[in-house]
Symmetry: C2
Subunit: 206 residues, 2 copies
């Protein structure tokens, strides 16, 4: 017999897989209990409703990402190195864990206002603002061009999003190669000095 | 009284708004008829089921995007200029039309295999492969660094994806400024010559 904590972890893990595969709306607590393999009473013992369960998954996921970010900030030798560590950390997680990041953006609108507000705040605090701070520090240190760090966050993270669809990830090529390309494009693009006219007349970063 | 074509267009427009606001799963044909303001018979006259209606929306949207791409290819003076025209064309569309691009990625998995296959083929043909060809031509012409054009497509388009969420677009800042930043980052990043050691020892694109 599993301990309460083990049961809770098992529910979270299986429910993550089901939400990713079938979306948030399509699943009921009855189906979740059945397919996770616990009694309905057991499910309700741990989570009072589907929203609480989903919020718990999102929260655990964000706390894991926060850990990745903190470790990267401690170890990173430059803005680029720190961001690369974060990307590698996120890409090293199970595809379902990555898909949850996307599902969070998609489904947050379905939560009740209070839960949505709580989740958005956590998402900002643990994830977006962390990345923004890293980019802002890079801008302040002259490692990155002057730009709106808040917008740069979305551009940087957007590049990862297509890889958070397990359903079509297979046709997208090696994620590690893609990750290296993202880092190169973002940082060569964001590092480049302001345009100056070049002898051949072509706009050229050098 | 509307003509059949006008009714069809009206259904497509209203249903687009509803799918974007509430997702694909949450809506039934009965609700769609009610909220679009046509009889159920009228709705079924034009679309045999919810899947056909959704597929018609996706298809019309892709055909519009194909037009934007064709015009950009005809008018573009360089790879960067062509891509910038495409991005501007997509960003100039109504937010619901942009959100449909995202919804397509999200919900394609819910369609029946045959419809999914048809849609994926159209999505590749009219959109992804078009952009890949433009990038590949840029690579072949030496305008862009040597890279896997198929992966570069996802990185380029990924940068736009966060802006396809009407629900949190408001907090993301001016989309036009973001678009300019995407183009700069992608093309300065993708244009940059291969790294060479620089006198100050720092990896520098110049």
């Amino acid at each position: 017999m599993m301990t309460a904590q083990a049961t809770r972890d098992h529910i979270l893990e299986e429910a993550t897989r089901l939400f990713v595969a079938e979306g948030y709306v399509g699943l009921s607590m009855r189906q979740l209990a059945e397919r996770v393999g616990v009694s309905k009473a057991g499910l309700y013992y741990h989570f009072k409703d589907k929203e609480s369960l989903f919020l718990a998954i999102l929260t655990e996921n964000l706390l894991e990402i926060e850990k990745i970010i903190q470790q990267a900030r401690a170890a990173g030798s430059s803005t680029q190195d720190t961001i690369e560590r974060i990307f590698r950390g996120i890409f090293a997680r199970a595809p379902e864990q990555q898909a949850i990041i996307r599902l969070a953006s998609q489904e947050a609108g379905r939560l009740r206002p209070e839960a949505r507000q709580a989740f958005r705040q956590l998402y900002h605090e643990k994830f977006l603002l962390q990345i923004r701070d890293i980019l802002q520090e890079g801008i302040d240190a002259g490692e990155l061009r002057a730009m709106d760090a808040g917008q740069a966050v979305w551009i940087l993270l957007g590049m990862m999003y297509p890889y958070f669809y397990p359903s079509h990830r297979a046709e997208m090529g090696d994620p590690q190669a893609a990750l290296a390309m993202m880092i190169t494009i973002f940082f060569e693009g964001a590092n480049a000095p302001v345009h100056s006219p070049h002898e051949n007349g072509k706009a050229d970063p050098c």
